[in-house]
């Protein structure tokens, strides 16, 4: 049913690259060593196009497009770093820092955090928006892991890995807007979840300290989501 993908040539940041028609701009950029910032994207999970960090400019269009879900097209001219894009990316990060209580200094993921890394690489030295300081709970009911909502950026990587890879679908979201909340099962304590297999994948893919391993509190162990591409390759019979 699926047609054989055709080869497309396009230009990303002035470099000519080729990609197959089923690849996204992000795929093509990464293959060619061009870095586009991401937060909700993770190799091996379906894309949601939600964090807007990977927005890029396309020649001939005023509309910005998320690189993670936009398929390459013949003759496309993509620009990934412009003052406008950098300004918007900085604002996305500022909005995230102001949305919940990201107190890096007391976070298990301090210095090993996707959000913090992005802030540094985008030159975010302070947040101009008022901090919202919501009162949010911490769920430590699970034997091995914990969930601190204060640090959650709602990227849904955990939701996707649990559903798509582990097949448990323990995680999902409750509510909407700024009141969205990550929940396990039907909003029960994580430790009482019937579906959770305690596999820990969600902890490994979480870019911040929202989901963490209790035994690693204050530890220096970086999270490792690389198992995903390995699992996917296995599934495709490539390994």
């Amino acid at each position: 049913m699926n047609p054989v993908p055709a080869v497309k040539t396009l230009v990303i940041d002035g470099t000519d690259v080729s990609a197959s028609s089923d690849q996204t701009i992000l795929d093509a950029a990464q293959e060619n060593g061009i870095s586009i910032p991401t937060l909700c994207h993770l190799d091996g999970l379906t894309e949601v196009g939600a964090c807007r960090m990977c927005l890029v400019e396309l020649k001939g269009s005023t509309k910005l497009q998320p690189a993670c879900v936009t398929l390459v097209e013949e003759g496309m001219e993509v620009t990934t770093q412009t003052p406008r894009l950098q300004k918007y990316r900085r604002m996305v990060l500022e909005l995230l820092f102001a949305e919940r209580n990201h107190v890096c200094s007391v976070c298990v993921a301090n210095n090993m955090c996707g959000l913090q890394d992005q802030a540094k690489s985008h030159g975010v030295t302070h947040v101009r928006f008022p901090y919202r300081s919501p009162a949010l709970p911490v769920d430590v009911s699970h034997e091995r892991f914990a969930l601190d909502h204060n640090r959650c950026i709602l990227c849904t990587r955990c939701v996707r890995v649990c559903n798509e890879i582990e097949g448990a679908h323990t995680w999902d979201l409750l509510g909407r807007g700024v009141n969205s909340l990550l929940i396990s099962d039907l909003h029960e304590p994580w430790g009482e979840s019937d579906t959770c297999t305690s596999c820990g994948k969600c902890v490994q893919v979480c870019p911040t300290g929202a989901l963490f391993d209790k035994s690693k509190v204050g530890g220096k162990e970086r999270k490792n989501p690389d198992f995903l591409s390995y699992l996917n390759d296995m599934r495709e019979g490539l390994r």
Binding site: N101, C104, Q116, T125, H126, R128, Y131, S133
Partner: protein, 177 residues
């Protein structure tokens, strides 16, 4: 020509940033020759001078006293530097922001099996409803995040400012670390 003046101010913070200043160790000697330290928890001076070239602020704005102090400091300072996460983000002091102040005080001073349960007396500075980073209250010229910013970072920031340049802080420091 007289040397530029430098001040450091300690608001609501743990003094870790001031410790980090001291961590510059022998570089302090070299650096201190380039400025006059006119006000600081590290020197004995009660009044903030009328005019200061560079002021480093540690800590967040948490009480009415902090609020008064930072406005006065701002008015008398040419280049105001938010030093460290408490000054830049509110950091640990701001973790109380989701709790109403009366509830917070009751929590801390009452019902914990204390012998004399009482909320601190009136003459002490009273807590503001919310802890705020410096730039939410007054204009800030340079932001140096970090908990605390390293001695190297502080050394570079002060050196650059004394040389009349704007330091590239993003390359030196980050939130939290």
């Amino acid at each position: 020509m007289s040397k530029p003046t430098l001040a450091t101010v300690w608001l609501d913070g743990c003094s870790g940033c001031h410790m980090s200043i001291l961590d510059m160790d022998e570089r302090l000697v070299e650096l201190s020759e380039q400025f006059d330290l006119v006000y600081s928890p590290l020197v004995d001076c009660k009044e903030f001078p009328e005019q200061v070239d560079i002021t480093l602020i540690e800590g967040s704005v948490s009480s009415d006293e902090d609020d008064r102090k930072i406005r006065a400091v701002r008015a008398r300072t040419r280049i105001l530097v938010s030093l460290g996460d408490c000054a830049v983000t509110g950091n640990v002091p701001a973790m109380r922001n989701s709790i109403p102040v009366p509830e917070l005080l009751d929590w801390v001073y009452k019902g914990n099996g204390l012998l004399q349960e009482q909320v601190p007396a009136d003459r002490l500075p009273s807590l503001l409803p919310r802890v705020r980073p410096i730039h939410e209250v007054v204009n800030v010229d340079v932001f140096v995040p970090g908990c605390p910013p390293s001695a190297d970072t502080i050394f570079t920031v002060i050196s650059e400012l004394l040389a009349g340049r704007v330091p590239d802080v993003a390359a030196l420091s980050r939130f939290g670390v």
